[in-house]
Symmetry: C2
DNA sequence: CACAAGCAGATTGTCGACAATCTAACAAGA
DNA sequence: TCTTGTTAGATTGTCGACAATCTGCTTGTG
């Protein structure tokens, strides 16, 4: 009998679709940091009741991209330079661990998959689809976490990747400039397919540091501008759109 | 003007209380792995409607200790030996990172706090309160993650700690035997207060490996037993008024 | 006996309405 | 002017009921 890998049935609940819609809106920057999510308005726009919408929002709160204050509202998380710094420094540690665990598990399927994802990044870059470029780049980087055969690591990475996607998207929206060169990940891919694990780990750190510097610059700009109202002070209430 | 640090007002929503109740029930093992959570029954027992209960369950799903299948139900996560292995290997990495970041930030308040938490563990041990012992031990270990000044790391640790607490609780319930010696964490505490960071990191790994071996043995037993009737324990509870 | 179709009960998903709470504007008094 | 009390409006939190879906049993047929 042929071995067929059926993909899971699509989630057929409104809640799941709402989660996907909201997440996309947040991660692409359509919903800005600090912005309040009005339940009534969103539920009317989506033509659903508030119940599944609220459940979806609870999920995204736990996912770390929304924050909720009882009787006040649910808001898109604020992005500070420190948040970005924290996320990146942890990401380095996770990358190093993921490479170490993935290394002995690499096989032909791994090499094929990394090429496939790399190609996806390059295509998105050629098409100047910045949103998709960020998405595919993160999927490329996520491969080592998927391959490491550690469910907790994968889960952790996915949470982190959400934030990184948001940070990059905000960065891109802020400075509406062309994206990095097409071969930005060339060395990374080659090292992952090579035989020097330490070199791959080292490059992962350095490679990340590059984009990181740009992001930090953006974040610092954010904080200077935001110094009038919102900020580290959690009591600050962001005004709705 | 005197500088008073008011603690945040307690969450006064039913949802928050339900989350706390359910989490406690799961982490102490009162709700067993694989068990199904019947919304109607629980909502009646808690005297709340299903809406806040469902929202609470959504949070716990994202927190990783419940799992949901649309139109089928929400279940306490299953615990496999691999899950425990995964959690622990990642925990080692996080510990090493946390110690590195915490190290230069240690001050008198840190030393006081570590003593305080250590004392709490010892007291729980003396009182033979195993549940509280697990809780306090995890809080002791959590200090380096709280002190590392990295919100993403802390968040990650807290998710991990939830699972660890659940694993330990299950382990304790399975073998109803006395808890480890009172001075189990003595060396750990001393090293964190000392001056050799590498030694502290090394010990964190080894110290963890100890409990880990016991947990793995427990988990392997679980899987052998679970092979015949894994999953929902349909214990028909006597419907008391 | 094996097996597919269909029905009944239970459970989850969703809806619309009501209650609790917060915010902002305004008036009264020192 | 500043503070305090009050009120109206808007928004979030919660409830009870209905719709959609799943599960297990029964029934009929070969």
């Amino acid at each position: 009998m042929a071995k067929l890998d059926f993909s899971p049935i699509a989630d057929t609940t409104r809640r799941a679709e709402i989660v996907a819609l909201l997440r996309r809106a947040i991660l692409t920057g359509q919903l800005e940091p600090g912005q309040k999510l009005n339940e009534l308005r969103i539920s009317e726009q989506m033509r659903v009741s508030r119940a599944p919408l609220r459940e979806a929002m609870r999920e995204l709160v736990q996912e770390g991209i929304l924050t909720s204050i009882p009787y006040a509202g649910t808001f898109v998380i604020d992005v500070t330079a420190k948040d970005i710094d924290d996320a990146y420094s942890l990401n380095k540690v996770l990358d190093e661990f993921a490479i170490e665990r993935t290394w002995p598990l690499r096989d032909q399927r791994f090499f094929d998959e990394i090429d496939r994802r790399h190609a996806a990044v390059k295509q998105a870059t050629r098409e100047l689809d910045t949103t998709r470029q960020i998405e595919t780049a993160l999927q490329l980087h996520g491969l080592i976490h998927e391959w490491a055969d550690n469910s907790v690591l994968l889960e952790t990475w996915q949470r982190l990747a959400s934030r990184l996607q948001m940070y990059f998207a905000l960065h891109q929206r802020a400075r509406n400039e062309p994206v990095p060169a097409e071969d930005a990940h060339e060395t990374y891919v080659q090292l992952l397919q090579g035989s020097d694990m330490r070199a791959a780990q080292r490059h992962a750190k350095e490679h990340i540091d590059l984009d990181f510097e740009e992001l930090l610059a953006y974040a610092r700009g954010l904080e200077e501008r935001g110094s009038k109202g919102a900020g580290a002070d959690r009591s600050g209430r962001p005004e709705g759109g």
